[in-house]
């Protein structure tokens, strides 16, 4: 391979750059631009938000608790999946380790239960 053999590659790169630049230029020239106040407003799924909206509203702390609980049990399930895949290779040892893991989580679970974390009101 000599450098001349790469000429098609160079032509392709140059063509691609020219095409991209041309497409951007043409759309900039021919596309209408009508910025309005409402068009430039932040997109909030169509909800109309004020420009002066603080964006940090207060909401019940209960949701924080639910989110934390979800994270804990979500991670538990996330650990279960790879463990289930290699369940047969790990034999009894893997089962014991997982039992230990679940036991640790269950201690927290019963603690939360006793504290009343699962009661909404």
């Amino acid at each position: 391979m000599t450098p001349v053999d790469y000429l098609p590659l160079l032509i392709m790169i140059v063509t691609a750059i020219i095409f991209a630049a041309l497409a951007l230029m043409v759309s900039a020239l021919l596309g209408p631009r009508r910025p309005t106040h409402r068009k430039l407003m932040p997109y909030e799924s169509g909800n109309i938000v004020s420009d002066t909206d603080p964006g940090r509203r207060r909401f019940p702390v209960k949701f924080y608790l639910i989110a934390m609980l979800f994270t804990i049990f979500d991670v538990e399930v996330a650990f279960f999946y790879p463990w289930a895949v290699v369940f047969r290779q790990l034999k009894v040892f893997g089962f014991q380790v997982m039992l230990l893991f679940v036991a640790v989580l269950l201690i927290g679970f019963f603690y939360l239960w006793k504290k009343g974390a699962f009661e909404w009101d």
Partner: protein, 160 residues
Amino acid sequence: MGLEDRLPEGIALTTVSQAVSWARENSLFPLLFGLACCAIEMMATFASRYDLGRFGAEVYRASPRQADLMIVSGRVSRKMAPIVRQLYEQMADPKWVISMGDCASCGGIFNNYTIVQGVDKIIPVDVYVPGCPPRPEALIQGIMKVQEKIMKEGIKGTNK
């Protein structure tokens, strides 16, 4: 036509307006939102069975900034009306609207105080698709009508 006769075979002439309209009509980007049961038919329309991709409009954009076709698929409640209007306002120009189904077009069977009696009361509509709900074929025809309109209005119709 003088110039076309002298050109060698295989070269076509067009105007900028036609070329732009042709590009626009074959790459419509509908806004991804559904209001009621018509939306189920809309989903069927761009799925594999009816394959809206044949008309270049299968990529639904979840942001109005990237969309140029609004398909109002379902009844517009009074609570939803300002949101629909805001979504329309935030769409990039040029933009078109299909009113899909009887409810969006005129209130349909919901002749009551909760439903806006036709989405054309809040946004300009280009094509009305009748039906309750319209079949995917009907929506496809509506999109083809929009394409016809885009081709007819040309670049001047939208670049005011």
